[in-house]
Symmetry: C2
Subunit: 142 residues, 2 copies
DNA sequence: AAAATATTTAAACTAATTATAAATATTAAG
DNA sequence: CTTAATATTTATAATTAGTTTAAATATTTT
């Protein structure tokens, strides 16, 4: 059973066949593609239909939304228009997006996290969510 | 003449009546509403029609795009779906979005800027663009 | 002032996403 | 277990933000 399936049980989300498939697809994205993945809805649908060719795009959208609301996965709206998804990880991380290839590099930086909290507090706010995205191009070594 | 009109001249963007109106609306957004504003296209259109009720939404979209490409204004894609706009400022700044009211607080933090550069470099990238958004709720004082 | 070029308008079109109604599957009650 | 009640899925229609197009208007060039 995938980690996402476990989480569904925890959160009381009923697991239908379709949801199991979508859960597996998302789970696998991290496993087999590594942190470079983060598929969009079309890609999730495409991968899901490899398992069950009858699954509809509407179900993918609905399930993704359900999973997001249950904190099972995270949606990202990078600068490209389409949303991209990844399973929720224990540790919060940020993203660097390669502007040439679209590849994603994940990183964690404690300093940044602390700084963000400090800033919010100074402005009189309680930090609820935050987004740090770096866009860059690869430095070639010689 | 508004600052944005001046910039258009600099960049060689021809100023039609409609563009002048839209330029004024954006200029005024910072002036009269302060940093809390950042209107979306609908709001820009609404304000523009107060000056000329014949101006079409397509022109607003086209002009906004033109202004953005000329570096005259900045588009933001916060978590709400619609893009919101502000005139380009000399100094780069970040945004804290009030999740309850949609209000925006702008802030500058040198430490954050430096940190971002350092992180990108460490990952082997040249930082081209970056986005830091904090989402928070107001702390009530007692 | 006429010809060439650019912009605007209104309306049609896209792409991503959401809602709806009928069909199918799941759960609960007898 | 078998029917009624509830939830989910499918296919399709609707919606929303944004873009494109063709005809009308305006601006610039000659």
């Amino acid at each position: 059973m995938s980690k996402i399936e476990e989480k569904c049980k925890e959160k009381g989300v009923r697991l239908t066949d379709q949801r199991k498939i979508i859960a597996k697809v998302i789970s696998d994205s991290k496993q087999t593609f590594g942190s470079k993945d983060h598929p969009d809805v079309d890609e999730l649908h495409k991968r899901a239909t490899l398992i069950d060719k009858k699954i509809s795009i509407a179900t993918v959208y609905r399930t993704i939304k359900l999973f997001e609301e249950s904190g099972i996965l995270i949606r990202h709206d990078f600068k490209e228009g389409k949303s991209r998804y990844e399973p929720t990880t224990e540790e919060h991380h940020n993203h660097l997006i390669d502007i040439n290839s679209g590849e994603i590099v994940e990183f964690v930086d404690k300093e940044v996290e602390e700084l963000q909290n400090k800033i919010a507090q100074k402005l009189g706010y309680k930090l609820v969510d935050h987004k740090l995205e770096l866009y860059g191009s690869k430095i070639k070594k010689n």
